[in-house]
Structure formats: C-alpha cells, structure tokens
C-alpha cells in the first residue's frame, strides 16, 4: 500500500508548499485598488470627473439653496416644523447637530480631498503636459470653489491642500481666514491660466478659464478688493465666450444647460439611478401635477414678491407663481418657487441643473465693482444690459450710493433662488438689517452670520476643531 502513503504525502506536501502568499494575496475583481490607478491620462481624467460628480451631493449643490436662499429674506418653509434641519436654517434656530451642516462639511472636504489627490498623483502619471495642465486647472478651480463655499458658511476651516493617506496625517485645526483666501485666490489664478476657454462634445460643462475668472471676481468682491475684481471680471467679459440669452426663462431650460449665458453649472440627469436633482421635488407645492412629492420648500417670501415691480413681469413669471391647478382640476392658492419646476420622471429625481455662475451674475458683479472703485458712470452699462434683457428701462445718472442700492436690488431679483442672496447680504454687511426689516421675529445676532461647525466633526476630532462663538 505504498501508493496510498505516497498519495497522502503528496496531498500534504501540496498543501503545505502551496505558495501561500500567492494564494492569499487577492485583488478585488469588481473594483480597482489605488495601487493600480492614477497611471495615465484616462485614469486622471476619471479622477477629475469624480470631483465634478461630488458637486451633485446634498451637502454641496443639492441643498446649496438652504444656505444661499432659505437662510435669507427671499425663501422660507411652508410647513415649519415639517422638516427640522431646513426649518432651523430658515428660522435661525439651528444647533451644531443640524444634519445638513455635517453633510455640507463632509461633501466639501470629499471634493477637496479628490482635488488634492489629483494634484498629487498627476505628477507621477504618464500624460502629456497640455492634458495635465487642464486637469490641474480643473482640480484647482474646484478646490477653490469648495473652500470659498466653506469659508462663507463656516468662516475659518482646516486648510488641507495635500493628499491624506492615513489617519495619522489628518489635519483638523482651523486655519486663519487670510491663509484660506490666499489659497483660494492662488488656486483660481492657476486655474484661469491653465484651463481652456471652451470645450466641445462631452467635455462641455467642465470648468473653463472664464469660470475661474468669474469666481475669482466673486472672491475679490467678497474680500472687497474691488480693483482686482474689476480686472478678473473684465477678462470674462472680453473673452467673447458669453452673452445674455434673449429670454430670461431660457436660462433654466434643462434641455439646454450649456447655453451661452452659463459659465459654470452643476449638472443633473433624472435617470432613476440617483443622478437627478431634488429641486423640483422639494420646491413644488403639494399635489402639483407631475411632481408627486412636492413639499413647497424654499417658498418665495412676501418680501421677495414685493421686490418685483409690475414691469418686471418676465422675471416674475419665470421665478414665482401664486397658484396652480392640481391634478384633480382644482385651483390651489400657494406661492411657490418655479425656477426648477420640471416634471419628475422618477420619484424625487428631476433634470434641473444648478447655475453656480452665469453671465448676468458676472455683469452685475462687474457693475458693482466698477461703482465701488468710483467708476459709477461706466457701471451703468453692464447693469442696464441685465435690465434690458428683463424688459426694464435703463437706469442712468445714479450716485455711487444710489447705484449700490440699485445693483443690490437687481441681484436680488435677477439671481433669486440661485444661491446668492444670503452671501450677497453677508459680503455687503447688510444681513442683520435686511433680515430685521423682512421679519422682526428673526431677531438675528451677529454670531448667526456664520454657521456653527458641525458637532459631529468637533466630536470626532476630540475638540481639536473649535466651535464658532455663540453656538
């Protein structure tokens, strides 16, 4: 029976001598791992596309309106108490544990980390220099955009600009505000130099040098560095790539989001797989036909309704309605925000896109900056281009302070529900006064001009991240 003994020995030997490490080293068949990635242009391209993909999330542009519009005097909640994270933002009663705050923090830092990773890994990837420069520019633009949002919402935040690869490398202490703005400006300047002026085909919608300059102008305006703002915005205007559309309502046509007025837009697509936007679902009134989940959030306030003059009909009808016919044929009286009101083919998912930057914004910023540097006379022209498209008479001969009021008013109407209002109030120092005029019950305090740092982040850093005063 020696053959049996031999057999047994062979079985043993095979098992013991099987090259253990080969047998145990497994790579996932359904996912790539980082070690195999970031090798070439197509890898880096996919890594950049993912930063754009981040922008759709709730914490980024999915609910940017909660900060830009709901917080301000133009939007409110129809059913207070119905959904606390938003009601508390609207009513200035929010606490650091508000869920949206943490979502916002997390989403922005996810985007920043993805940008940092691209900027780091591109150095060792094999690709030609022009392609590399475009990717560097896109990552820098998007990182600048996210830090700009973060500082406006939370004030000082941890400034992380390199790839983090282990938990020992995490920075969680807040950086000085000037340092963060210097980084934003440097990123946007880099981006405006490296990025192409325009794209074609499926690259349409990626960041352009115009987008970087427009955002840079907005940053300078926020920093009240008006001469620099004028310079940056002039680059956009003279580039010749942008114009105002003829019809105001065409701006929001989801079938054509890459029109000539769009400078940078966060894109959605309702395909039943989580790529749609929730704007129409959240903004539509209840029982609104075609939008089954309508929740009447971010409803136009009476303050906003009053701000429209009777001549401003085109913009009013594109932005607001006060009644609708429900699916049963009943006329329902209800104010609602209709800029993003498109049929929802999939429950909770719409095609509507989010206009981060558009040419009318650039013209109004330019007008504002010119006025602030004392070029009030010249400032009338860009303002009037916006008014003209809206079918309004041109203004003329305004004093510097009169012009200031006029441009503020124009921004409120022209850019309503595009995420600008609250930040405009902040950067022009009018937030407390305007909010008190709109509704004395808001009764806001200085500390409420910035949002609290999310409690979850303070907890997880063991207190290394400090809370904003007053919260």
């Amino acid at each position: 029976m020696t053959y049996a003994k031999l057999g047994i020995t062979v079985v043993f030997a095979t098992l013991i001598l099987t090259s253990c490490d080969n047998f145990l080293a497994r790579t996932p068949p359904s996912q790539a791992s980082v070690e195999e990635f970031y090798q070439n242009a197509s890898d880096i391209d996919a890594a950049v596309v993912a930063i754009y993909g981040t922008l759709r999330s709730t914490g980024l542009y999915g609910r940017f309106w909660a900060y830009g519009d709901l917080r301000s005097d133009i939007g409110d909640m129809t059913f207070p108490g119905g959904f606390d994270p938003l009601t508390n933002i609207d009513e200035f009663s929010l606490t650091p544990s508000n869920r949206l705050l943490n979502q916002t923090w997390v989403a922005h830092y996810e985007g920043i980390a993805r940008s940092n990773t691209v900027l780091n890994r591109i150095e060792n990837a094999e690709l030609d220099e022009s392609g590399a420069n475009q990717f560097r520019g896109e990552a820098a633009f998007l990182r600048g955009l996210m830090y700009f949002n973060l500082v406006r919402i939370f004030d000082r935040v941890p400034l992380v600009v390199s790839e983090v690869n282990s938990i020992n490398e995490i920075e969680s202490e807040r950086s000085p505000i000037d340092e963060i703005y210097d980084q934003i400006i440097s990123d946007l300047e880099t981006a405006s130099q490296l990025l192409p002026e325009a794209y074609t085909g499926n690259d349409l919608g990626r960041a352009t040098s115009g987008a970087a300059s427009s955002l840079l102008g907005k940053v300078y305006l926020t920093r009240q560095n008006y001469p620099a703002a004028v310079e940056a915005l002039e680059d956009v205007i003279t580039s010749g790539h942008y114009r105002l559309l003829d019809e105001y309502s065409d701006i929001f046509d989801y079938n054509n989001p890459t029109h000539d007025e769009a400078i940078f837009t966060v894109r959605y697509q309702a395909n039943g797989q989580g790529f749609g936007s929730s704007y129409s679902d959240e903004f539509a009134p209840r029982d609104y036909p075609d939008v089954p989940g309508g929740q009447t959030r971010n409803r136009p306030t009476l303050t906003l309704l009053d701000a429209y003059t009777t001549e401003d009909e085109e913009r009013f009808t594109a932005t607001i309605d006060t009644q609708f016919v429900d699916s049963g044929g009943n006329v329902v009286s209800q104010r609602y925000n209709k800029k993003y009101l498109t049929p929802n083919p999939f429950s909770g998912e719409g095609h509507d896109d989010w206009p981060v930057l558009r040419y009318a914004d650039v013209l109004l910023m330019y007008a504002e900056a010119l006025n602030e540097v004392g070029r009030t006379e010249e400032a009338h022209a860009p303002l009037n281009r916006v008014r003209d498209r809206a079918g309004l008479a041109a203004t003329s001969g305004l004093s510097q302070s009169g012009f200031r009021e006029s441009v503020y008013q124009e921004r409120m109407i022209e850019l309503a529900f595009e995420g600008h209002r609250w930040f405009d109030l902040l950067r022009t120092g009018r937030a407390i006064e305007v909010m008190a005029n709109a509704d004395p019950s808001y009764n806001i305090d200085e500390h409420q001009l910035i949002f609290p740092i999310p409690q979850a982040q303070i907890d997880v850093t063991g207190g290394a991240l400090e809370q904003n005063p007053g919260y």
Binding site: A4, A25, S30, Q31, E110, L465
Partner: protein, 1063 residues
C-alpha cells in the same frame, strides 16, 4: 477513528458489567442440553421505535445472556426454570430491568425492551474540532444538543434545535417568516462590526455565515438528517478553528449508515399555525375619538379657542376629517390584523433508508417541507436529498461521500420598516376606518393619501398579496474523504468538499399598488437578482492514537485550504406597459450590474490530547491561519490554547464515595479570532462617482475615486478566554451537573471608526476596541423518577455580562442608528455594547405648577412642556431639558440570564414533554411606538396609548401615558425611555405527547415500529411586552443597534400531529 476509540473503550476501560457481557458474547451458549426454557424478545429505541441491533440482554445473577441481531431480536436458550430479572443495555442508552420473568421448561417467554437514550452519557462520543472524544475525556466546555429528543418538534432549521437547549447559547427567534433565520450568540456579543454568529461546521465543512431575517445558511439542511450537534464554547475548544473560532463553533454531524438490516423510515407531520399574539390597537370608534382629542389639544396649544366647533377648525394639524366627526357612528371598523393573518398549514414528509453491509454503509433520505406562513402569501418549500455513504476499501483504507442537494422556494413579504411598504407594521398602524377593498373589488389605498396630517400607510393586504417577491435557492453541499491506516496507530485522512449555493430573487410591484402618497396606477417596478457562492475546502490530517500503559495519547496535525467566490447580478426595470408580463423583458431596464468577490484561507493546525490514568487530562491545540482578508503586514495569525482536566472521581480515595459517579474539574485558556471583516477592507479601493457632462440632457461620464484609506496592518479580531468548569455526576449519573465560569475579552475589534472629514473620508477601518463577556453557565440533568413511570428534567441557565472596555483613539462613544437615521443606541466604555440611548422619562407633568417647578423643555419654544407631557430627567443638571444634552443610557438589550427547562414524563408507551425557555432582565426598543405609540393619532394607536392617557389633572390616566396631541409638545415624541419596554419573557415553547405503538400491533401491520405524536409549539408566552415577540432584532447582527422591534414577522403558535414509521 471513532471505531478505534469505541473498541478501545469496550476492551480497555469498560465496566465489569460490560466485560461480563463481552464474555457472554465470546462464549455463546448454544448446542447445549435443551431442558430449560427460552426467553426472547425485541429491543427498541423509545423515541424512534426502531430496533436496536447489538444490544445486550442478560439474565441477572446468571451467566446467561445474548446480543440482539440485526432486527433487534434476541433469544436466550436453555434457561433453567425459575423467576429472573432481565437487564438490557446498549451504549448510549439507559439500562432497563424487567423483574419477575418466569421461565418454565420447554416454554418460550417473550420480554421486549424499550430503551431510552441516555443523553450526555459519559461514554457518548462528542465531536470536537478535527477529532472525537468521549465526554468523560473532555477538557473544554462543549455541550451536545439532545437532537433525538427534539425529533418531531416542528423545527425546520438546525439553528432552532439549539434554542434553549444549551447553556451559554442564546438563540433568538427574531422572525416567524417561513424559512427565515434566527440570531445565535454563544457567550455574548464580542464583536462590534465583524459579526457575532458562531461558525457552523457541517460534517467537517465550515460554512459561511449570512443570517438575516429572510435567509438562513442552515435553512437548506433537513433537521431530521442530523445525528448530533455539538457546541464548542470555550477557547480550548474553539481555538482549533483559529481565526473563525471566537464566536463559538457549532459542529453538525449528519446521520451515516450502519451495518445491518436495512431500516426504512417514513416520517410525516402536519400542523396548523396561527399568530401567537395580537397587538391591541384601537377600533374605528376609539380611533376617531383619539383623532378629535389629539387635534383639539394641538389646536388649543396653538392658541385656538376650544369653543370653535370641531367641523370649523382649519389647518393641517387641527382640521378633523368629516367622517371622523361622529365616532359613535363608526363602530368597530376593520381589524387589519385579522386581514393579514391566517391559519396556515405546515407539512413535512421524509423517507430515509439506513443500512449496509460491514464494508459499505449508507444513509439516504429525501424530504419535502411546505410551510405556509401565518401572513397571507408567505410560504417556504424545501426539497432536500441526502446521500451519506461510507465504504471500507480494505482492512486499512476507507472512504466516504456526503452529498446533500436541496432546493427551496420562499415567498417573502416585507414585514417591517417604512410604513409605505410594511405588512406587519402596516396592519397595526392602518386606520380602522378604511375597508380593505373598494366596492368594485379593487384594493382601497385611501390610507396612502388621507387627509392632512395622517401618515401614508400602504394597504397591508395589498402589499402582501399584490407584490411578488420570490427567492429560490439551489444548494449542493458535498464532500468526499479517504482514510488510510499507515500503521496501527497512525491514520491519514484527506477531505475535499464543496458548498455550492445559488440563489435567485424576482420582485415585481404591479401598477395596481400605491407608491408613497401616489395612488394607483403607478409605474411598476421589477428587480431580478442572482447570487452564487462556491466555497471549496481541501483538508489533510494525520492522527496518531496510542495507549501505552497508563498513558493515552491522541495527536492530530493537519493543513487546510479554503476559498470562496461569490458572484452577484442585480437588474432593475420599470415602465412595464401592463402587469401581465412581470419578468424584466417587459419593462425598461434602469440598472444592471454584476459583482464578484473572493476570500481565501490557509491553515495549519495541531491538537494533542493526553490522559494519564484516565484521571489527568491535558489538551493543547494550535492553529495558524493566513487569510486574504488581512492586510499585507498582518497576513498570518496564530491561535493557541491549553486545557487541563482532573477526573477526581477516578482517584482511589473517591472509590468509597459511591454516590459520586463522576467528578471532574476543568480549566482552559486560549485565543481565537474573528476573521469576518470585509473581504478587501485592508485595501484602498476605487469606486464610481460619475458626473453628468456634455450638451443637452448630458451624458453620464465615469469618475473614479478612492473609497477609503488602505490599511496594511488590518487584521482579525482576537478573543482571549479562560474557562473554569466542573462536571458532577451523582447516583449513577441520575443527577448530572455541569457548571462553567468564563471570561472572554475580545480585543483588536474591527471598527469603522469615524474620522475627521477634513481627511476626505468619514470613516476608516481600524483594529481598536475591547469588549468583555463574562458569565456563568449551569446545566443540570436529573432523572427524578425511574421505573415504569419516568420523570426526567433537563435545565440550563446562563448569566452573561457584557461591557465595553475600550473604543477608538479618543474613547468616544459610537452611536447606533435605528429607525433610518435617528440615534437610538450608544456604545460607550463601561456599558454593554449597543445600549439604548435617549431621554429618560420620569413621569407625566400633572399640573402647571409641576411644569414650572421641574426642569422642562425649553420655555421659549412654541412646543414647550405642558401638563400631560412627559417629565424627563435633567441628566446634565442645567435646570432645563435639552434633547441633545439630556440623553442617557435608557436600557440594556442583553438579558441578565436565559434559561431552558425540559420536563419529560413517561409511562410505558406514552411520553409527555414540556419545554420552557425564557430570558430575564433585558429591554426591547419598541420602534413601532414611533407611530402606534406616538399619541398623535396620525396612524392607529396602541390601546394602551389611548386608555391610559392623561386628559386633565382630574383625569390623569395611568400616570405613565401622556396626553394625545397631533403636534407632540414637550419632546414627547423624541427618542426616550418610552420606546424601551421590558422584554423579559418565559415561553412554553413546546408540548409534545408521544405514543409508541405497541410492537405487537405494529408487527401485525407489517411495520417495525410506529410512533405517533402531537405537538404544540409556542403554546404560551408570559411577558409584559406589548409587541408580537420580545425576541427581536430589526438590524440583524448589528451589535451597535440590537433589540429593535420595527415590525418583524410574528412567530406562530402551531398544532402538529405526526408519525414516524419504521419498516
């Protein structure tokens, strides 16, 4: 191996009595003078009724006796006339004596014996890892489940066999869904995120875990095919399973062939099941009253004038629908529980053949189970086959084959979860004012979009009947082994096994269903999925087994390799043009994906069992495991153990203490691991974050990002355990007791710790954290009355204490999330894993003064506390109640103790058995109270929430229930101890009446044996819990959020008749 041990036992260590029997066998009495009488008869098993070949029957005080033949028959010839006592015995059975047998010359007297199996007998063989031992030689804490006793109970899955039978094993029957799983925990919960299920080893094959409420990896196994279930509890027993042993190991051995006459058995049972409990909710009239009161209170809170007539009130939370204005006109309304529950049949048939020659032995069985659920449209069917064949190829070589294909079909209903999709929660929450169907016969979905301020609830009957959700599973477990005796003492064995599992699911929601608030017709949704697992094992062992004088040595060394590959396909479609064709070809596919994942494990193992003078016992084991799941820097782990035993009863000085038949002390120490971390957790993987770019509606462009940090140091979790045990047998083991103390510390726990988001990630896998489980276990078996009337008792009780010792770097608590997104649990140092967390209710504010003088919810808020609202404990002592800061631990999901008690009474052919089990001192998080106990009357309410409510200081109710209020004030509806209910229970789980049909009658109808039985399962439950079942676990094995009841499928009470026939 087993035969070796067995023979060794018989020849060397047998009692004088057995030696006598052997002598009788060696010197058969035949061919002698025939002047005496003859005694003959049959020896049968008391439970199965099958005959016992090889049993010994002796005439006491004489040298006469005989062994039974293949048919279990014996004949003792030529017995001198006289009156004798006859004794029958067989290993594993209790001796039986028949006195007063009168033998007359030339006559034949018939004496039949019915032997009872002796459970936990000292000589019984116990399967331990990669070996077998007699119970008396065990050094570890190993319990055997009395599988034979449970035959006939309407048990459809092996895990249910463990229920209440073994100290230290907590089995929760968390769902009554046909084919659904249980949760099994051995010696507490030691892991936070790597699972707490034990390792199941079926005929030597470790199967992959994967229990949940709808699925059960043991579900394909037919319990009637099980020969033995042994549970390894302490580290000396589990360490041989290395990186998979820390949660305990359950070894399942299936029946194999025995040489002898072919035994054909046919088992059949039929039962009727019903819901064991109904939840007490309001009828239509009471509900309307509750709505009026809740909305009136909200109206008054808001500053409304109570004199405004009910019908004139306007506004979402205040307006009262017209049809509710006159409650007394509404009557009883619909009892939704009546509509979803039904009396449902369950039937099971099995045919088995067992037998073989000396050289080839077989066990072949086939069975069919059909269990219709107590909820309409739920069902489980299983077809299973088993073929276990063993053959001796030569004197020295043997081989064997285990093959068990099975096929099952489950019709699943969604019991719990979101009210828009839950049948059981839907039934307790649906408004009693609505009918099930409209007048035209279609389903009534009025509750999906009722008036303002009412929750959308799916019609639960329509959800159960109209939505198809079918899962099928084909499973083939098979293994083959070959054994060869290299020398008389050295045995080599090689095994190859495979576990192939293929599951399909098909789901279709027709257009006739409501979807959220949208009424039909809605857009249908269909999904189809497949899941396939191929798990193979190769194993080789060498066993050395030698007795040298007073030294007895057993050594096993081995090497194994195992690999599992899982593949999954998911497809979704919608836009079906009609409901006629429900396969996805009819719709538009919206999603399709396939996934593949693998793990591999290589191991070396060794065990040494040594005994000196059969008194001093020593066991040492070691296993070295390398797993693909561990990080590159930590790929191999070593798991050692050592145990010692001292059989004091074998010491010379104990000889005189005759009432002590067995006394053994045991002590063990060892380490085992938990390798159930995700397959590629140590790697940083790339995942999709696509973007929409391009003109028009845009194109989806692929974007890729790292999903997390890589961690090359990631490794298994380790648990270190000491165990001290005592085994005591008194009065010839009529009383036997096993007691254990253990202390198990699980370290290097795998935690997906939260990290600062400024890293770009919110979580990272780390090996940190420490949990302690320690406790006592006691098992006591007594034979209270012996003789014609028998009374046996088996009792076990376990006490386990669970405490978190260490958590992440800063020791921060981990919050567990139940109810979708709400914090309901906390895991913090010094408390049990997953303690309930929220506000602590002290009582109800009775008066304005009480509100004034006690901490209450913020005065500046419009929903401040008023009389009738909850009074909470001011945990941080700041004089007011703030939800964020006044939360505390409000309950413990783990019982102080669990127990099981079986009493069996036998008289001749009749046996009656009661099995009670229970758990004491734990709480259930009754998440159903989110709606049915929310006092807002936007869904139906518990009767207790209505009858005990506070109305006014003069009508304060039961003092525990707040006022009804549509806009709950004073934080009444936040997570608080009102959700936490005492879950302690005692359940009369099984009553069985057995009748062994007398053999004279059985033989007259050409049968070998026949047993009839009647069983009631879940006969009665004593508990204060108001839900269906206090054994709950909505979140499955998630140890961060245990104990949540969110509408699980209720368990059934069943009445079953059955028969076991032997041919």
């Amino acid at each position: 191996m087993s035969n070796n041990l067995w023979n060794r036992f018989l020849l060397v260590i047998s009692t004088p009595f057995i030696i006598a029997c052997m002598l009788l066998l060696l010197f058969p009495i035949d061919g002698m003078a025939q002047q005496g009488g003859t005694i003959e008869g049959v020896v049968t098993d008391s439970r199965t009724g099958t005959t016992i070949p090889g049993a010994n029957v002796v005439v006491v005080d004489s040298e006469r006796g005989a062994a039974t033949n293949d048919q279990g028959e014996y004949t003792i010839l030529d017995v001198e006339p006289g009156t004798y006592t006859l004794q029958a015995s067989f290993i594993g059975y209790r001796e039986d004596n028949v006195a007063g047998v009168e033998v007359q010359a030339g006559e034949t007297v018939t004496v039949d014996f019915v032997l009872q199996q002796e459970l936990g007998g000292l000589e019984e063989l116990v399967v331990v890892g990669y070996s077998q031992q007699q119970r008396k030689d065990l050094t570890g804490s190993i319990s055997s489940v009395p599988v034979q006793e449970l035959e006939g109970a309407p048990i459809n899955s092996v895990d249910q066999l463990l229920k209440g039978q073994v100290a230290g094993v907590r089995v929760q029957e968390v769902t009554g869904a046909p084919g659904g799983g249980t949760t099994v925990q051995i010696r507490g919960t030691g892991s936070i995120s790597a699972g707490n299920e034990p390792l199941y080893v079926i005929d030597g094959f470790p199967v992959s875990p994967g229990f949940n409420q709808n699925s059960n990896p043991l579900g394909s196994l037919n319990p009637s095919d099980i020969e033995a279930v042994d549970v390894l509890k302490d580290a000396s027993a589990t360490a041989i399973y290395g990186s998979r042993g820390s949660n305990g190991v359950v070894l399942i051995t299936t029946k194999s062939g025995v040489a002898g006459a072919t035994q054909l058995t046919f088992n059949a049972r039929y039962g009727i099941q019903e819901a064991a409990h109904r939840v007490d909710v309001l009828n239509a009239q009471e509900f309307a009253q509750a709505v009026i009161e809740a909305r009136t209170n909200a109206f008054i809170d808001d500053g409304g004038d109570p004199s405004v007539p009910l019908e004139d009130r306007v506004g979402g939370p205040f307006a009262i629908p017209d049809e509710l204005l006159n409650p007394s006109a509404l009557g009883e309304g619909t009892d939704w529980q009546d509509e979803i529950f039904r009396a449902s049949p369950e039937q099971n048939y099995q045919l088995a053949v067992r037998g073989g020659s000396e050289s080839v032995r077989y066990y072949v069985s086939g069975s069919y189970l059909n269990q219709e659920g107590i909820i309409v449209d739920s069902e489980f069917q299983r077809f299973s086959l088993r073929s276990n064949i063993d053959a001796d190829l030569s004197e020295r070589a043997r081989m064997g084959l285990r093959l068990s294909p099975s096929y099952s079909i489950r019709n699943v209903i969604q019991a719990g979860g979101n009210l828009g999709d839950a049948v059981v929660r839907g039934a307790t929450s649906s408004l009693p004012i609505f009918s099930v169907r409209n007048e035209d016969g279609s389903y009534n979905f009025a509750n999906s979009n009722y008036a303002s301020g009412f929750a959308p609830i799916i019609n639960p009957v329509a959800r159960a009947r109209e939505v198809d959700d079918e899962r099928t599973e084909m499973r083939l477990q098979g293994s083959a082994f070959a054994e060869y005796d290299l020398t008389d003492n050295l045995l080599a064995r090689a095994t190859l096994g495979v576990d192939y599992d293929s599951e399909r699911s098909n789901y279709y929601r027709p257009s006739t269903m409501a979807n959220g608030r949208t009424l039909p017709p809605t857009n249908p949704i269909g999904t189809a999925g497949t899941w396939q697992g191929v798990n193979w094992l190769s194993e080789a062992t060498l066993t050395y087994d030698r007795t040298m004088g007073e030294h007895d040595l057993d050594v096993v060394v081995g090497a194994t390799a195992q690999e599992e590959t899982n593949e999954r396909t998911d497809i979704e479609a919608t836009d079906f043009p009609n409901d006629f064709v429900t396969t996805l070809n009819a719709g538009q596919a919206t999603y399709g994906a396939t996934f593949k994942t693998q793990w591999a494990l290589l191991s070396l193992l060794g065990r040494v069992d040594y005994a000196y003078q059969s008194r001093y016992l020593l066991t040492m084991t070691i296993r070295r495991d390398g797993s693909s799941r561990f990080g590159a820097n930590n790929r191999w782990g070593t798991f050692p153990s050592i145990a010692a035993g001292w059989r004091i009863s074998e010491e010379p000085f104990m000889r005189s203490v005759s009432f002590v038949s067995d006394l053994k002390l045991r002590a063990s120490y060892g380490q085992a691991g938990n390798f159930s971390i995700p397959n590629y957790a140590s790697l940083s993987l790339i995942s999709d974050v696509d973007a929409i770019l391009g003109p028009g509606l845009g194109e989806r462009v692929n974007g890729l990002v790292p999903a997390g940090f890589s961690n090359s140091d990631l490794s298994w979790e380790t648990s270190e355990q000491i165990d001290l045990g005592l085994d005591l047998g008194l009065l010839s083991n009529r009383i036997s007791l096993t007691a254990d103390y253990y202390r198990k510390v699980s370290t290097d726990l795998l935690l997906n710790v939260q990290i600062p988001a400024s890293s770009g990630y919110t979580n990272a896998f780390q090996n940190i954290g420490q949990v302690l489980n320690s406790g006592y276990e006691l098992g006591l078996n007594t034979e209270n009355i012996a003789g014609d009337f028998q009374w046996d008792t088996r009792f076990n009780i376990s006490f386990n204490r669970n405490e978190v010792l260490e958590l992440g770097p800063a020791g921060d608590p981990i919050f567990g999330v139940g109810l979708g997104a709400t914090t309901t649990h906390v895991t913090q140092i010094g408390a049990p894993l997953g303690s309930y967390y929220g506000l602590d209710v002290l009582g109800i504010f009775q008066t304005e003064e009480e509100v004034e003088n006690n901490p209450s919810f913020d005065d500046s808020d419009t929903r401040y506390s008023r009389p009738g609202d909850y009074r909470f404990r001011d945990v941080n002592g700041d004089g007011k109640i703030t939800f964020g800061e006044d939360r505390t631990i409000i309950g413990d999901p783990y019982p102080d103790f669990t127990f099981g008690l079986t009493n069996s009474f036998g008289y001749k052919n009749v046996e009656l058995r009661f099995f009670i089990d229970g758990a004491y001192g734990f709480e259930v998080f009754n998440a159903n109270a989110e709606t049915t106990g929310n006092f807002a009357a936007n869904t139906n309410l518990y009767k207790s929430a209505f009858e005990g409510r506070f109305i006014s200081p003069d009508q304060p109710g039961d003092g525990e229930t707040p006022r009804l209020n549509r806009r709950p004030a004073g934080l009444n509806n936040n997570i608080s101890s009102r959700f936490v209910e005492d879950g302690s229970f005692m359940r009369l789980r099984n009553i069985t009446l057995n009748y062994q049909v007398p053999s004279t009658f059985v033989e007259s109808i050409a049968l070998n044996s026949a047993r009839l039985y009647f069983t009631v399962q879940n006969a009665y439950t004593l508990t204060g819990y108001q839900g269906y079942n206090p054994e709950v676990s909505q979140e499955g094995g998630n140890s961060l959020a245990p104990g949540i009841d969110y509408g699980a499928y209720p368990i059934a009470r069943s009445f079953t008749v059955g028969m076991n026939l032997g041919f």
